[in-house]
């Protein structure tokens, strides 16, 4: 053990004592390892961040969930729920009216805003000041007197406000306004995250982290050739083979240790950046992103240990003799069976979750991550075999081709290792793009639906006449048409009815929007063909039956109003608007409504928008906020998720490209290293007249053949994984060829760039002075 420590320490010293070149090597390794470490730390911090977010959400909860009304006291607070939506973003809003000096303050707020004032989250403040937030400012015109502190928010990008109010007491109904004594009442269990989203998140991590792990493995092998020569010198002065390997491992460990420090730095930078990013309406404060100490410790131990192990593993085929390095000339033929075990094992782990879909609970995260990673790691195991098997069958062609093929036949392992990272990244990205494209389709389906007629529904506040409200909305910019219906329920008995039927009351013009009426005059009554929301209509349509307008939802003491079903009731077909709102039951014109029944109905307005007017929906919401801030107009078409998916897909493409560039950099480093090793040979080839273009072309073939094979394998594994993931989410399988081409193109582009970048040094190395010995 002591000897181990001594040898590793010597390796660490060697790493730093190599002058400029040594430092560059350490730095390259460290940057590679550092990026990997930062990603690992960010990943381990996410569970903590989610937990902190939940705690904050619970701490500011202001719902009582109680059937009994609380009495006014000096420690009570009236809260109005005025959350609104703007440009598909949720803006959490509350009206506050303290009823005494001991009224509780919400977390993050130091003083109650007075009526006409509000305190806002920093993100909302910024948004209200921006051009994009101008219309929202009209909706929230109160004077901003402060900002909500971090403890009152669940994310850095959260849009939230508290507004001062008065006279809220008469509005207490438990839904729009409520009385509370404290914040932090037990929160209702929140909706579990959509399993498909969980799957996406898990797969994104696995897909981005696996190539990083492959990259770390490659990074600790930077400078291997030169290191081997130094080690040969060590052997000459008496170091045995094992000692030499340990010294080599020590050198790699040095790079990994510096990488850990850099990784911590990158993580801190990444944490700040993560604070300004919002995905699926989720954002975090940098302080939320604290990796679990145990996981962080694991990363700190595992990375240097991995560096030592990878180096020991890499040196198993190398014999370092005192007078030089001998690579085993003909490595034993690679075996396929154990290499196939990895992807097959991965598929076996994912198989039980096929067909589970989003309806049947969560996917097992261990099986998912394990399966995806085994499939991707399977690429790195299969690629050396594929390259070896294919190049062994390649014939001799022109000189450049022959030089490249023969070189690959002699040592295909190095070439395969060089492209492993790219192949894994491409395979993962193809699978994810397929999954995104498939799932995206489910959400965009609604968006692409041609919306005609009614798009928005607005509740008319009870006790307010419909006409002036309707006029206000009709005059709103972007509103094309408005119709109104009063809605309620009919019961089969005067009290405690057992059977119900919905009823909609409106003019013939309004009724025609929801049903195909053959003819209509004021005083007519119709019944809609039974649908999903018809309740017991079928049992209640018999002519002469006596029904009662239901008052069970109304806490005012009102007398039930009776109504007799007329004979010869016409059954009519609903329109698209009726289908969209689930309209069913009786349709009445105003004169058919018995006297006094109007009090038992709720007024509803239905708005059609002019899609050519930008922000028409926001103008409607602004009008709605002036009429009833507690009930926001309901939009029947949503495309919220499309934007999120676009952002995630964009982010994934950027992430995958960054990983590819990272791997490209490592490819370039090892390419240059190999070229330097062959400097003398290249010069001698030039001496006897070899064209430079021949040698350049041979270098291109040497990279292009393994990368071509790597990309074919990556596409195959990526498509397989994509199909499995789609089947897991019960999504119809379709191949997104654009993504496949995009990702393989990016991979090929990286190789081309690496080859082009290695050409100038190659040309320099081919100069005849490479033959000089003195």
């Amino acid at each position: 053990m002591k000897q181990w420590g001594r040898d590793l320490a010597m390796g660490v010293r060697f790493a730093f004592a190599g002058g400029r070149e040594g430092w560059i090597r350490v730095l390259l390794t460290a940057v590679g390892v550092g990026l990997g470490v930062a990603l690992l730390l960010l990943t381990t911090a996410i569970p903590n961040a989610m937990a902190t977010r939940d705690e904050r959400e619970t701490a500011r909860s202001d719902m009582t969930f109680s059937a009994t009304r609380m009495k006014k006291a000096d420690d009570t607070l009236l809260v109005g729920y005025i959350t609104t939506t703007y440009h598909h973003k949720n803006v959490r809003g509350r009206e506050l009216e303290p009823e005494g000096p001991k009224a509780p303050l919400p977390p993050g707020v130091s003083a109650f805003p007075a009526p006409g004032e509000m305190v806002v989250s920093p993100a909302l403040k910024k948004y209200l000041e921006s051009d994009d937030g101008k219309l929202l400012r009209q909706r929230l015109p109160d004077r901003i007197v402060g900002t909500i502190g971090e403890s009152g928010l669940i994310g850095s990008a959260e849009l939230a406000f508290y507004r001062g109010a008065e006279n809220l007491a008469p509005k207490i109904d438990g839904a729009s306004v409520d009385r509370i004594k404290r914040f932090g009442a037990p929160e209702q269990p929140s909706d579990p995250l959509d399993p498909v989203l969980v799957l996406l998140i898990l797969v994104v991590f696995a897909v981005l982290l696996t190539p990083v792990a492959v990259f770390i493995a490659a990074a600790v092998r930077f400078g291997g050739e030169r290191r081997d020569r130094r080690l040969a010198a060590l052997r000459l002065v008496g170091s045995d083979a094992r000692m030499t390997r340990r010294v080599a491992a020590g050198e790699a460990m040095a790079g990994a240790l510096v990488g850990l420090v850099l990784g911590a730095g990158f993580f801190l930078i990444g944490r700040q950046i993560a604070g300004s990013v919002e995905v699926f309406d989720y954002s975090f404060f940098p302080s939320y992103l604290n990796p679990s100490p145990l996981l962080a410790l694991l990363v700190a131990v595992a990375v240097p240990a991995a560096a030592v192990l990878v180096t020991q593993f890499a040196l198993r085929g190398v014999v370092i003799e005192p007078l030089g390095v001998v690579r085993t000339a003909r490595p034993s033929r690679r075996r396929l069976w154990w290499r196939l075990l990895l992807p097959v094992g991965g598929l076996a782990m994912l198989y039980p979750m096929i067909g589970q879909g989003r309806e049947n609970g969560n996917f097992n995260q261990y099986l998912t991550i394990g399966g995806v990673m085994l499939l991707l790691v399977g690429v790195t195991a299969l690629l050396p075999w594929v390259v070896e098997a294919v190049v062994a069958r390649l014939g001799a062609g022109p000189v450049a081709w022959q030089l490249a093929v023969r070189r690959l036949q002699l040592s295909s392992g190095t070439a395969a290792r060089m492209v492993n990272g790219i192949a894994v990244a491409v395979a993962g990205a193809i699978a994810l793009q397929m999954l995104f494209a498939g799932v995206d389709g489910q959400y965009t389906e609604r968006k692409t639906e041609k919306v005609t007629g009614m798009q928005i529904a607005v509740d008319v506040p009870s006790g307010r006449p419909v006409a002036p409200v309707k006029e206000k909305f009709a005059a709103t910019r972007g509103v094309e048409n408005v119709y109104d219906l009063s809605e309620g329920y009919l019961g089969n008995t005067r009290t405690d009815p057992q059977n119900f039927a919905p009823v909609s009351v409106g003019t013939c013009a309004s009724l025609r929007k929801v049903a195909q009426l053959p003819s209509c005059r004021d005083g007519d009554v119709f019944v809609l063909r039974p649908g999903d929301y018809a309740y017991d209509t079928k049992k209640m349509v018999k002519g002469g039956s006596k029904l009662w307008f239901d008052d069970s939802d109304d806490d005012r003491t009102t007398k039930p109003v009776a109504w007799t079903v007329p004979d010869g009731l016409k059954t009519v077909q609903g329109t698209a608007d009726a289908d969209r709102t689930g309209r069913a039951g009786f349709l009445m014109t105003p004169s058919a409504l018995p006297s006094g029944a109007d009090r038992l109905l709720t007024g509803e307005l239905y708005l059609g928008l002019d899609n050519a007017v930008p922000d028409a929906l926001e103008y409607v919401r602004n009008t709605g906020a002036t009429i009833d801030p507690y009930n926001e107009p309901i939009e029947f078409v949503s495309s919220v998720r499309d934007k999120n998916y676009a952002a995630i897909r964009g982010g994934l493409f950027i992430g995958a490209t960054c990983v590819l560039l990272l791997i490209g950099a490592s490819l370039l480093v090892s390419q240059l290293e190999q070229l330097r090793e062959r400097k003398k040979l290249l010069s001698s080839l030039i001496a006897f007249g070899t064209r430079r273009s021949t040698l350049s072309l041979s270098v291109l073939w040497q990279t292009a053949i393994p990368i071509g094979l790597g990309l074919v394998l990556a596409a195959t594994v990526g498509l397989t994984l994509g199909v499995v993931l789609l089947k897991m989410t019960d999504t119809p399988v379709s191949v997104d060829w654009t993504s496949v081409l995009q990702m393989t193109g990016a991979g090929a582009g990286v190789v081309l760039a690496v080859t082009l970048l290695s050409l100038p040094p190659l040309l320099r190395l081919m100069r005849p002075d490479g033959l000089r010995t003195e």
């Binding site: 000339a329 022959q402 040979l681 001496a687 006897f688 007249g689 064209r691 000089r772 010995t773 003195e774």
Partner: protein
């Protein structure tokens, strides 16, 4: 000294690598079929002289005439073509391409000249037989001994029937027995094809295979008439 009928003549060659002067007015000439040894201590400039004569390195000043043509007027492509078709090279460590088999290595200069693979390998095998290494044809350089590798390198240098063979310390990495065998085969083969041989060496034993010796010291050359 530019005797009539010289194949390759150099006059007043100057070459410096930064502050280090490698050649300082060196002269040289060689006739077809002649073997000339270039001798001198380490760092005297003999390898630089060979590289200049072969068109691998361009001298800073002076003239090199090959077969009546001034090499200074040739561009890189022309000089490369000249090396491919008219010159052959043997280096101290063979410098065989490790991934190619021995026969592919010998055939390489022919293939670079556009000869088909089959024909090139057939000719290569003929030369390997002459140099007694035909049994190594399918082996890679890493699998043969130093002496065998050097004979393969000689075969490669001669396979294009060059008019000038440049050999830079061809026996430098071999024991005396192997060194003599290589020199015997090299000079015999060159004489049989009437190729001129420029032989850079610091060993008198090797220089003894030449017809004439030129000594290079401090970048200057001096022709030594053989005293035999």
């Amino acid at each position: 000294m530019t005797p009539a009928g010289s194949l390759l003549v150099a006059d007043g060659l100057h070459k410096a690598y930064g502050p280090t002067v490698a050649l300082d007015g060196a002269e040289f000439s060689i006739h077809p079929g002649e073997v000339v040894a270039v001798m001198g201590p380490s760092g005297s400039g003999k390898s630089t002289l060979l590289h200049c004569l072969a068109g691998i390195v361009t001298p800073d000043a002076g003239s090199i005439m090959y077969n009546g043509h001034e090499m200074a007027t040739m561009n890189d492509a022309q000089r490369s073509a000249l090396r491919r078709s008219e010159f052959g090279f043997v280096f101290q460590f063979g410098q065989l391409v490790p991934e190619l088999t021995c026969v592919e290595n010998v055939a390489l200069p022919l293939r670079l000249n556009g000869t088909s693979r089959k024909e090139a390998e057939k000719t290569a095998l003929g030369w390997m037989e002459r140099l007694e290494v035909d049994d190594l044809k399918k082996k890679r350089p890493g699998e043969v001994s130093g002496g065998q590798g050097q004979r393969v390198a000689v075969a490669r240098a001669l396979v294009t029937n060059p008019r000038v063979l440049f050999a830079d310390e061809p026996t430098g990495a071999l024991d005396s027995l192997n060194g003599e065998r290589v020199m015997d085969l090299l000079t015999d083969a060159a004489r049989s094809t009437n190729a001129a041989v420029v032989l850079v060496t610091h060993e008198a034993r090797v220089a003894a295979y030449s017809d004439r010796e030129i000594v290079v010291r401090d970048g200057k050359s001096r022709d030594m008439e053989r005293a035999v």
